[in-house]
Symmetry: C2
């Protein structure tokens, strides 16, 4: 038996057990490769990877250390007696072997996999096996089974509401923050919209990153329910909420390996929405050769898939194919995007028209979920709510309930990217704009990003500013600058 020690290291959902190389109980010097251990002493065994320590300040030979994640799970005090054995293989890994061999997995198999992931019997590497093996192909019923497995046991309860709406975009289009405008309009109308959004690591900004410029987005369930009760709307980061825990673990690994399959995105989004108690959902499918969905055929396939899974799980889905050929709005990066959103809500003349129109269009589709509204009236109602200032008022109330954020400043290091010759902006490359935004630091610092002053179709004179880069640190600024020298992302046709 060894004495438990909390090693204060956070490893992002990977559990670690630290054993001293001269451990008094376990011979670990001979261990030659990664070994998953089963730690005994708590109510349930905890699974963790063995790491060998040669520093008694971290763990002593008579101690067994657990990192912060594993220590929370074992849930017994430091100093308690603990022991370990080599973990047996979670049986559901056999289903993954079957999937690699090209088979279709059953609902039960997806459930077993999700169960083992929830019990932390899967390492991050095992989760990668799951993602990559199912990445090759999944039938529509498999996507359904995966969605069901990801929902988890707990869904948010909305006692007296008949209808809970939300909106989600499949993404890949920089600046596309319709969600905040939509939430404001729909909440002002009075349909309850607990918008769940995500933070981003690899793109310039997720909806949660942008709204975090204005308000606290790390809501617990109570605050979310309070804001819906009082304001009919809320925007919360799903990663901070206690729903669909398996989905959270799987997505965290998926981000790291950077391999995103559409079937996984669909099951993940629907699982979160269903766990949040959403009954009616608009899904925005932007299509563009540099968006996530490249062509209309793919978009139609995704739409059918989303509709099928939605039908089977009794969530009403309106999947809308939209133009994803260029960035939406002017700002790319949290602070700049929040500025665009507020311009629209304040009915400013220089508000970006494309972002405003897309928001009105999608908000209109959501409003039409209301049986009291006649078909075709959604857009006009949404427009009236926006122009009257009621949408702004609704968002301010939401911000007040969620807690106002200390608004970060715009990055003070700027560079203007100029038109090399006169002509017309022919094309703006979403992926390149996103990359330059990330190099400028937008995924780490809310004030960084790009301000797009010209959009597709605009006439430009040689030397006109196409866009302005904002960075917060000189390193990021240098990265973004050197990236721009290569290829700015803008294509201009000579007149």
């Amino acid at each position: 038996m060894l004495a438990l020690k909390h090693v204060h290291v956070t490893s992002f959902n990977e559990n670690t057990v630290y054993v001293h190389k001269d451990c008094s109980t376990y011979q670990v010097e001979d261990v030659a490769s990664l070994t998953k251990m089963e730690i005994h002493g708590g109510v349930k065994p905890v699974y963790a990877f063995l790491q060998v320590v040669d520093d008694a300040k971290i763990v002593k030979p008579n101690e067994l250390g657990l990192n912060t994640e594993a220590f929370k799970l074992i849930n017994i005090p430091e100093g308690a007696n603990v022991s370990m054995t080599i973990a047996s293989r979670p049986p559901s890994l056999n289903a993954i072997k079957k999937k690699i061999a090209g088979n279709i997995l059953s609902a039960g198999e997806y459930r077993s996999i999700a169960h083992d992931i929830e019990q932390r019997r899967y390492s991050n590497m095992d989760i990668v096996s799951f993602l990559v093996s199912t990445g090759a192909f999944m039938t529509a019923p498999e996507v359904l089974h995966m969605t069901e497995a990801l929902i988890g046991d707990k869904t948010i309860n909305w006692d007296n509401e008949n209808i809970i709406v939300d909106h989600h975009s499949l993404g890949g289009v920089p600046g596309n923050k319709t969600d905040i405008v939509i939430t404001a309009i729909v909440a002002a109308y009075g349909l309850p919209i607990p918008k769940t959004a995500s933070r981003s690591l690899t793109s310039t900004a997720g909806v949660a990153d942008t709204f975090a410029v204005l308000a606290n987005v790390n809501l617990d369930e109570k605050t979310l329910q309070k804001s819906i009760r009082e304001n009919r709307g809320a925007i919360a980061c799903y990663q901070s909420m206690d729903i669909a825990p398996v989905n959270r673990l799987v997505r965290s690994v998926e981000r790291q390996i950077g391999i995103t399959q559409k079937e996984h995105v669909v099951s993940s989004i629907l699982a979160i929405k269903i766990a949040t108690g959403v009954t009616h959902l608009v899904i925005d499918i932007p299509v563009g050769d540099k968006a996530r969905i490249k062509n209309t055929n793919d978009a139609l396939r995704i739409r059918k898939l989303v509709e099928y899974v939605g039908d089977m799980l009794s969530i009403d889905i309106d999947a809308v194919i939209t133009d994803g050929s260029e960035p939406i709005g002017n700002g790319v990066g949290p602070v700049l995007e929040a500025r665009d959103v507020m311009k629209i809500l304040r009915n400013k003349e220089d508000a970006p028209e494309d972002l405003k129109e897309k928001s009105l269009f999608l908000a209109g589709r959501i409003l039409e979920f209301d049986p009291k509204l006649k078909g075709g009236q959604g857009y006009a109602v949404a427009k009236e709510i926006l122009q009257s200032g009621r949408a702004l008022e609704a968002l301010n109330k939401i911000i007040h309930t969620q807690g106002k954020a200390p608004q970060p400043e715009l990055g003070h290091l700027t560079r203007e990217v100029l038109a090399p010759y006169s002509g017309v902006v022919e094309r703006i490359d979403n992926q390149r704009i996103n990359s330059i935004g990330v190099w400028a630091g937008a995924n780490k610092f809310a004030g960084a990003g790009l301000d797009l002053l010209k959009k597709v179709g605009d006439k430009v004179e040689q030397g006109d500013v196409l866009y302005r880069i904002h960075s917060g640190t000189s390193t990021d600024f240098a990265y973004a600058n050197s990236a721009v020298e290569g290829y700015s992302g803008y294509e201009i046709s000579r007149e």
Copy 2:
């Protein structure tokens, strides 16, 4: 800039960078998921996963900690100035996306992947992506390209030798330690045989585990060359040798996820053999419904594949399909297997006949690589060498050169598993015997394992001992005992 600190933790080929949560330079509190960092300060950047620390005894806010693996790679002293950025994606990961989508990868793509793995730009999770995506299917040319990519830059040089032989079994059959007997016979004959073997974690014993009972197997290249020069034979653990480094990294991850594809096994074995300078190789393909290769069709496919890759890479391969329907020899577990091997070499009457005959057969095939030997004479020559005691003499010389091991004792906790009724042993389940051996502790403690007193075809009376379990610790013993209660692995038909 932060000051470098060596955090004395070994994580088995995963690099870790430790940053204090109140780091003076990098804001890490907001980091929400696994992030791969690029650490600058050494000659080449080092890639490592970020972990956040809340204990100044591990790292202080002005320090950047690297675990032992990463600290070795950065190769600059503690206290040196270091900085970090978020790592960009290794470009070869795009090839993995292509593979997931069902494409065939080129030689160049396999090379790029291997290069990025060698540079440690792949995390273990990325390596899993590679393994699982190629696990779905690989064409024969892909297996060739993967083998080439795994060989690496360095191959062992055997100046004056025209022919270097070796033997390898595809495995899955408990007790099957022909390799040691074969090495002794071939070395005694005079053909140089630098046998590379592996340690096992998940099965009762690899060849390296068993030979480690008799001699040191962690050889450097010099000792290997010395033993070949002086004794014509050596048995070395490939994991401890500085060859095929990418293969070592990939295999370490493969063991952890427990998903082994035959194509990967073929490329791995051939890469190691070629990197060791082997020119002539006998491959043993045991077939049995509880062996790794289940049926003759599969075995023939593997043989064709091995022959194709061997031809293209100019290594002469004799692939032999053998009977893998039951364990070979009596001992299962390092000490018991070593006992069997020594009985054979000492020409003891109670030496296991099946292990002896299989060893002679395979040794004979290797001897026939010698152009001076007439076809069909190999077996007889091998038998003469064994019976004359020259094989034993050769092995003793090899043990002397490699360094004699402090022979571990047989596990003192024993249990006899008895025949429940009289009859004939119909079948012995390889997988079950292996599992019970592992539960008994054979993968951790060399003295643990099973001693099989009855084999298929043997008549047994009710109460006869079928096999004896040996364990070193009461925990392992209890595991093995409870496993036996369920299913002993023996099937007996009533007379």
